[in-house]
C-alpha cells in the first residue's frame, strides 16, 4: 500500500466516526469534552454552529452518529451522544451574546424561503449574518415545520423548539406565516435573487382504494395531519379504541399521542414482521414501555363500517417468505382478523408534492414527477431556485435537513455573487499536538469502563396523563459527566512520523487493542490478513507509514483504536504524537 496521506483532512475525519456519520459533521468529541469540563455554553455553541438545533436534536435526532461510534465496536454500547447534546442544551445559560451579529447594512440580496422547517431555518441562519434580506413563508402559524407539527410535545417541549427557532427568526427574518405559497411563478415574479424550497414531504400516504375508506372517513386520519392538528390544538380527543397503521417513527408518535388523548386500547398494526419495522429501536422501545402492543404481519383488507360509521378494520394475516435471492415477499396465510376500533391513524409513509410549482417555468421534473435537484449544490435547472430537506428527495430527518440547508446556503451565496456553485469550499481543519509532559496530555486519555447510562423517565402514569409533559428527564450533571467520559476522543489522532521511528516495538507491545503492526508492505487485502489481529472491518482504514529503515512499514488498523495515547507515551523518540483534529464543515461566506 501507498503511505497514508494524512495531509488530506478526509483521512482523519473518517477516523472520527461520529462526526463523519453526522450529515452536518458536528465535531462530536470536541463538544463531549466540553460537557465533561462543565463548559455547557461552549458545547452548545459548537453544536449550534453545526446543527442549528441542539436542544431539538438532543431529544429527537435519528442519531446516525451512535451506530457509527467506535465505542460500540469496542464494547456493547456506543456513547449516548444524542442525550449528551441535550445535557449541553439543558444546562447552558444565556447564549444570546454569542450569536452572530447581523449587519445593519444589508448586502442588497433578497432571498425567499418557502417552508419554515429545519432546512429553511438553516439557510436563514447561515445567510442572515452575511447581510441578506430574507422572507420566510409558511402555511402554519409558527416556525419549525415538521419539528413543530409532527414531533409530539412529550418528546420535544414547545419551549425548547421556540427558543431555537427564535434565535434565527430574531436575526431579522421577515416571516410570512399562515400564508400558503400556491404558485412558484408568482414567487419568482417578486424578483428575489434566489428562492429556496424547504417544504418537506407534506403528503401522508392514504389507503384510498381500501373498501369502506370513504364511509369511515370521519374517523380515518392521515397520521402526520392528525399530529399537526394535535400540535396546533385543533384536536384534543380520540376514540377509546385506536388502530395505528405503520411501523415507522410517525406511527410511534401517533400511538403514544393517542393514549394521551383518551385512547385506551391503542394498537400498532404493521404489515411486516416486527423486526423489519422502520422506526428507530429506541422509539419502538418507548412505545412498548407505554404498554402499546404491536401486531405484526397484518395486511389491511378493509375498513368496516356500521351505520355509516367506522366500526373496525379487517386484516389478512401474512407470513414472510424469502426467495433464492433473499428477497422477501409477504404471503397471505388465508386467515383474517377483525379488529374493532373507533379511529384509525395511518402512518404508512409520506410523499413530496409540488402542485404549486408550475411545470413550464424552467424547473425540470423527473419521471417520478419530482424536481431534478443537484446532489451537491441543491440547485434546480432554474439556477435561482434551490431545494433542500425532505422536499429534495423524500423523507429523511432533521439533521439531514440541516445539512442540506448549510450546503444550499453556500450555493445561494455563491450564486448571488456570480460564483460557480459546483466548486465547493473546503472544510476548515487543524491538527494540534496534545502533549504537555511525560504522561500529560491536553485531553483526558483515561478510558472509562462505565456502561452506557440510561436516561431516566417520568412516572409512566403521570406521563400518559399529560400530552405536554416531557417523558425523558435527561441526564443529570453527574450522569452527563460520566457518560461524557465514555467518549474515546477519536478526534485526538495518533500521528506517526516515520523518520523519528527507531523500530523499538514499544508502541506495538503496549497497544491494548493490537492496532499497531510493523510488517512488510503489501497490497491492502494481504496486509489486512497479515496483521496481528486481522483487519476485518473494511470500512475502517489502515494507516500505513513510509518505508522504515528495516524496509518494513508501520500499519495501524484504525478500527478499534482506543485513542488512549499509550503508543505515544511509550515512544522514546516522539515518532507517535497525539494530535487533536478539529474539522468544521464549510459554511456560507467562510
Amino acid at each position: 500500500m501507498k503511505p497514508t496521506d494524512i495531509t488530506d483532512p478526509e483521512y482523519f475525519h473518517k477516523v472520527v466516526d461520529c462526526q463523519y456519520a453526522c450529515p452536518a459533521h458536528t465535531p462530536v468529541p470536541e463538544y463531549i469534552r466540553l460537557i465533561a469540563a462543565g463548559r455547557y455554553n461552549d458545547a452548545y455553541m459548537i453544536n449550534w454552529q453545526s446543527n442549528v438545533f441542539p436542544g431539538v436534536l438532543g431529544r429527537t435526532c435519528d442519531r446516525p452518529c451512535e451506530p457509527a461510534c467506535r465505542r460500540g465496536r469496542v464494547e456493547d454500547e456506543p456513547v449516548a451522544i444524542c442525550r449528551l447534546k441535550r445535557v449541553a442544551a439543558d444546562n447552558k445559560t444565556d447564549i444570546s451574546d454569542r450569536l452572530p451579529e447581523i449587519p445593519k447594512k444589508k448586502n442588497g440580496k433578497k432571498i425567499a424561503l418557502i417552508g419554515a422547517g429545519p432546512a429553511s431555518l438553516t439557510v436563514a441562519r447561515d445567510l442572515m449574518p452575511l447581510g441578506y434580506d430574507i422572507d420566510l413563508y409558511d402555511d402554519q402559524s409558527k416556525g419549525g415545520g415538521f419539528m413543530r407539527s409532527q414531533i409530539p410535545s412529550f418528546r420535544l417541549p414547545e419551549s425548547v423548539l421556540n427558543e431555537e427557532v427564535d434565535y434565527i427568526l430574531d436575526m431579522g427574518v421577515v416571516t410570512h406565516f399562515n400564508q400558503e405559497v400556491t404558485s412558484m411563478k408568482d414567487m419568482l415574479a417578486q424578483s428575489y435573487d434566489a428562492v429556496f424550497v424547504g417544504t418537506g414531504a407534506p403528503r401522508g400516504r392514504d389507503l384510498s382504494n381500501l373498501p369502506g375508506r370513504s364511509d369511515g372517513d370521519a374517523n380515518i386520519h392521515i397520521g402526520i395531519d392528525w399530529l399537526a392538528s394535535v400540535a396546533f390544538e385543533h384536536i384534543e380527543k380520540i376514540g377509546k379504541k385506536v388502530l395505528v397503521l405503520g411501523g415507522g417513527n410517525t406511527a410511534m408518535d401517533c400511538c403514544r399521542t393517542a393514549i394521551r388523548l383518551g385512547g385506551e386500547d391503542v394498537r400498532v398494526v404493521v404489515r411486516s414482521p416486527q423486526t423489519d419495522m422502520k422506526a428507530s429501536p429506541w422509539e419502538i422501545e418507548d412505545a412498548i414501555h407505554e404498554d402499546i402492543p404491536m401486531y405484526e404481519n397484518h395486511n389491511p383488507k378493509a375498513f368496516v363500517t356500521e351505520n355509516g360509521k367506522l366500526a373496525g378494520m379487517l386484516f389478512e394475516l401474512v407470513e414472510p417468505v424469502f426467495d433464492d435471492q433473499g428477497q422477501r415477499s409477504l404471503v397471505p396465510t388465508g386467515e383474517e382478523v377483525m379488529m374493532p376500533c373507533d379511529d384509525v391513524l395511518m402512518a404508512i409513509g409520506q410523499l413530496n408534492s409540488f402542485p404549486w410549482i408550475e411545470r413550464d417555468i424552467g424547473i425540470d421534473f423527473n419521471d417520478w414527477d419530482m424536481p431534478d435537484v443537484d446532489k451537491t449544490t441543491f440547485q434546480t435547472s432554474l439556477p435561482n431556485v434551490f431545494i433542500g430537506g425532505d422536499a429534495a428527495w423524500g423523507p429523511e430527518n432533521v439533521i439531514t435537513a440541516v445539512a442540506h440547508g448549510h450546503q444550499a446556503a453556500i450555493s445561494i451565496h455563491q450564486f448571488c455573487h456570480a460564483e460557480d456553485t459546483k466548486i465547493r469550499p473546503a472544510p476548515e481543519f487543524n491538527l494540534v499536538s496534545q502533549k504537555m509532559g511525560f504522561h500529560d496530555w491536553l485531553y483526558d486519555a483515561h478510558i472509562s469502563d462505565e456502561d452506557r447510562h440510561i436516561v431516566a423517565m417520568v412516572d409512566k402514569q403521570k406521563a400518559i396523563s399529560d400530552r405536554k409533559m416531557e417523558v425523558e428527564k435527561g441526564f443529570d450533571l453527574s450522569q452527563g459527566y460520566e457518560e461524557a467520559m465514555r467518549c474515546l476522543n477519536c478526534d485526538v489522532q495518533t500521528v506517526f512520523e516515520t523518520d523519528r521511528c527507531i523500530e523499538c516495538d514499544a508502541c506495538e507491545d503496549i497497544c491494548p487493542v493490537d492496532c499497531i503492526n510493523f510488517i512488510e508492505n503489501n497490497d491492502e487485502d494481504i496486509l489486512r490478513d497479515n496483521l496481528k489481529v486481522k483487519a476485518r472491518n473494511d470500512d475502517q482504514d489502515l494507516y500505513v507509514s513510509d518505508e522504515l529503515k528495516t524496509k518494513r512499514v508501520m500499519v495501524k488498523d484504525e478500527n478499534v483504536c482506543l485513542h488512549c495515547g499509550l503508543c505515544a507515551e511509550r515512544c522514546p523518540t516522539g515518532a507517535w504524537d497525539m494530535q487533536k483534529f478539529l474539522l468544521h464543515e464549510a459554511t456560507a461566506g467562510k
Binding site: E75, I447, D449, I502, E503, A506, V533, K549, E569, R570
Partner: protein, 350 residues
C-alpha cells in the same frame, strides 16, 4: 494522565484453548523507560505463554536486581514471583525448583545480574542443568545506575557517555555452552518473529534453557557507536536460521522447500523447524556451535537464533534422583518417616 492501561482488548482477539484471554497473561503497566527493549521481551513472554496455553498460576517468575529484574512485574501478573537479591536468582530458583518441580521456572536476569555480581551463581545453575528458562535481558550497561558499561559491553563499544569500553566482553552464550547448558540461544528484543518461538522452545526444553536477548537501553546505550543499540544490532544480525515452533499434535502448515529445513523434535512431541541458511551446522555439536559463534564474531556480527540444542542430559532432579512428587506435596509421614527408618539408615552407614 494514563498510568493505567485501558481494560479493553481487541474484541476479535479471542482466548486461547484453555479459555484465557491475553489479558490474563499481562502484568502491570511498565515503568521502564519508553522504548526499552525489555518491554518487548516481556511482550514476547506473554505471547509465548498465551500461545502455549500455560496456566499462569503454574509458572514462577524469579529475578534478581536491575531493570531486567523489574520486568516480571510487567508480565504474567497471575503467576508466582520472587524478586530476589542481586545476582542470586539462580539459587532462589534452584531452591524453589527443588521444593516444587511441577512449576515452570522463568528466571529473568540482566547482564549485570548475571555476568557481574551473579557470575558464580550463573555458572553453577548451568552446570547443574536445573530445569528452568534463563533469560538474560542484555543491554550492555547498568541502566538502573545511569548506564555504566557492563561486563557484556563489547570492547570499543561506546554508550551515551561516549567513552569506548576498555575490556573484552563476556559472551554468555559461549559460557553457557562451555558449562554444559542443554539449550543455548540468542535473540534480539526487536525481532519477535524469532524471539517468541525461541521462548516457547525454551519453555518446552527439559533442563536448562538459556536465552541471551540483546535488548537495547534506549536511554543510555542506544548510540551509533554502541554494539547494543537498535541500529547496530539490526545491521549486524546473523541468524543461524529462521525458527518456527510447532506445538505437539498440531497440524504443520508451514511448507519448506525440501532440504532447506531441519526439524528438532522436543521431548513432549513439539517440533522446532529451523530454516537452514548457507552456514548450516550440527546444532547438537558443542564444538560446532562454539566455532560458529567465533566465526560470526570475527565478522563483527552477532549470531542469533538457536545455537545449540541437546536434550540428552538429565536435569538436576534426574541427576540427584529426587522423588517424582514435588517435595511440598509430600505428607509429613513421607518426609519424616520416624526414628525407625533413621536407625535403619544409620546402621547401614556404620
Amino acid at each position: 494522565m494514563t498510568f493505567v492501561r485501558p481494560n479493553f482488548r481487541h474484541p476479535e482477539n479471542h482466548s486461547n484453548e484453555i479459555g484465557y484471554s491475553i489479558k490474563n497473561y499481562e502484568g502491570a503497566l511498565s515503568t521502564l523507560c519508553a522504548g526499552c527493549g525489555h518491554d518487548s521481551i516481556s511482550a514476547a513472554i506473554i505471547k509465548a505463554c498465551f500461545d502455549l496455553n500455560l496456566e499462569p498460576h503454574k509458572i514462577a517468575k524469579i529475578s534478581g536486581i536491575g531493570c531486567s529484574s523489574k520486568t516480571p512485574t510487567y508480565f504474567l501478573g497471575k503467576a508466582h514471583g520472587f524478586n530476589s537479591v542481586h545476582g542470586r536468582m539462580p539459587s532462589v530458583t534452584t531452591g524453589a525448583n527443588m521444593a516444587n518441580r511441577d512449576l515452570l521456572y522463568l528466571g529473568v536476569s540482566g547482564d549485570g545480574d548475571t555476568a557481574s555480581i551473579g557470575m558464580g551463581q550463573f555458572a553453577h545453575v548451568v552446570r547443574r542443568n536445573l530445569n528452568m528458562v534463563y533469560i538474560v535481558m542484555n543491554n550492555g550497561c547498568y541502566g538502573l545506575t545511569k548506564g555504566q558499561d557492563s561486563a557484556t559491553a563489547d570492547k570499543g563499544s561506546a554508550s551515551k557517555k561516549g567513552v569506548p569500553s576498555l575490556f573484552d566482553s563476556i559472551d554468555l552464550c559461549q559460557l553457557a555452552l562451555q558449562l554444559g547448558a542443554g539449550m543455548v540461544a540468542r535473540s534480539f528484543s526487536g525481532d519477535k518473529q524469532q524471539l517468541i518461538p525461541m521462548v516457547k522452545a525454551a519453555i518446552k526444553h527439559p533442563g536448562f534453557a538459556f536465552i541471551d536477548v540483546v535488548s537495547p537501553c534506549v536511554t543510555f546505550n542506544n548510540t551509533p557507536q554502541s554494539t547494543k543499540g537498535y541500529e547496530w544490532v539490526r545491521d549486524h544480525l546473523d541468524a543461524t536460521g529462521t525458527i518456527d515452533f510447532i506445538p505437539s499434535q498440531s497440524e504443520i502448515t508451514i511448507d519448506y522447500p525440501v532440504g532447506s529445513s531441519r526439524k528438532v523434535t522436543l521431548h513432549d512431541g513439539s517440533e522446532l523447524y529451523l530454516q537452514k541458511n548457507n552456514e548450516d551446522y550440527d546444532l547438537t555439536s558443542r564444538k560446532a556451535a562454539m566455532n560458529r559463534i567465533e566465526t560470526v564474531k570475527e565478522q563483527q556480527k552477532i549470531l542469533t537464533g538457536l545455537i545449540y540444542h541437546n536434550e540428552t542430559e538429565l536435569d538436576t532432579h534426574g541427576k540427584i534422583a529426587t522423588v517424582e512428587k514435588p517435595l511440598n506435596a509430600l505428607s509429613k509421614q513421607e518426609l519424616c518417616p520416624g526414628s525407625g527408618v533413621l536407625d535403619r539408615l544409620n546402621s547401614q552407614l556404620r
